[in-house]
Point group: C2
Chain length 153, copies 2
């Protein structure tokens, strides 16, 4: 058996896209009996270096997070410009968007997933790392996010 591409236990997030994150975040807070989390906005493209389907894009999103034991539930509302978040929301309506795995090297992992039929659709930076969204619907029935944190933790 060749080296695994992903560590299954490195799952760290389940994410969904919605049209109205403040309302949905409030509902989850009620359902879970926890405080309403802050809604934050991803930075401007000049900071995040976001690229969507091979082109730079002003795509941004509002984000909110809940703790689900060992992993996070991420709520995403797309704002500004094209993005995988907007694409999926427009295509299917509100719903689950991706599952995320921590990886040591997102570029290496996305290339390995491309070899089995996946497509890297969006990449970008955040304060402490970078991410790649890989549309693995054809081989794996899901969109995956690869999260690379630096320094490794």
């Amino acid at each position: 058996m060749s080296n695994p591409i992903l560590n299954p236990a490195a799952i760290c997030q389940i994410a969904l896209v919605v049209n109205d994150i403040e309302r949905v975040a409030k509902n989850y807070a009620t359902v879970f009996g926890v405080p309403v989390p802050p809604v934050i906005e991803s930075g401007p493209a000049s900071e995040t270096q976001i690229a969507y389907r091979g082109k730079t894009t002003p795509g941004r999103a509002k984000l909110a997070f809940f703790n689900l034991g060992a992993l996070q539930l991420e709520l995403i509302e797309p704002i500004d410009g094209p993005s995988t978040w907007r694409e999926v929301l427009d295509k299917n309506g509100p719903g689950l968007h991706h599952i995320a795995f921590k990886v040591p090297n997102s570029k290496q992992t996305s290339q390995a997933l491309e070899k089995i039929g996946a497509t890297t659709v969006q990449t970008g930076d955040f304060t402490t790392g970078n991410y790649s969204y890989v549309d693995a619907t054809q081989p794996l029935g899901a969109v995956l996010e690869l999260l690379e944190f630096y320094p490794p933790r």
Copy 2:
């Protein structure tokens, strides 16, 4: 604050629907570097007492499971008759279907979720418990599965 409806740490599954479970299960096994799991079939409706949108249905599914640390990844291929699995696969194509939470009483929890705008779309039994699928897309941006195990474990 009123009593919470769900314990966020009781998440136990992420599930996706696909057209060809044997192929996708093989791909996940390669990606995770684990053996290909067995593909099982849900029992006949006479056993599972499955109801979909208020009516009995012959709906069944092929299922395969992978361990993702503290939770399971469930692959579902709908077979026979209408079901939420078939509905979502026909509407959106292969993709993420639901996140599942263990609950002490699925009926009580689904009724509480209905009060905030969710709809119970499918219910059924399995060997050691029962399940309810609750379409909470409107209030929570996702379909949830409530899993009640007896005896509690």
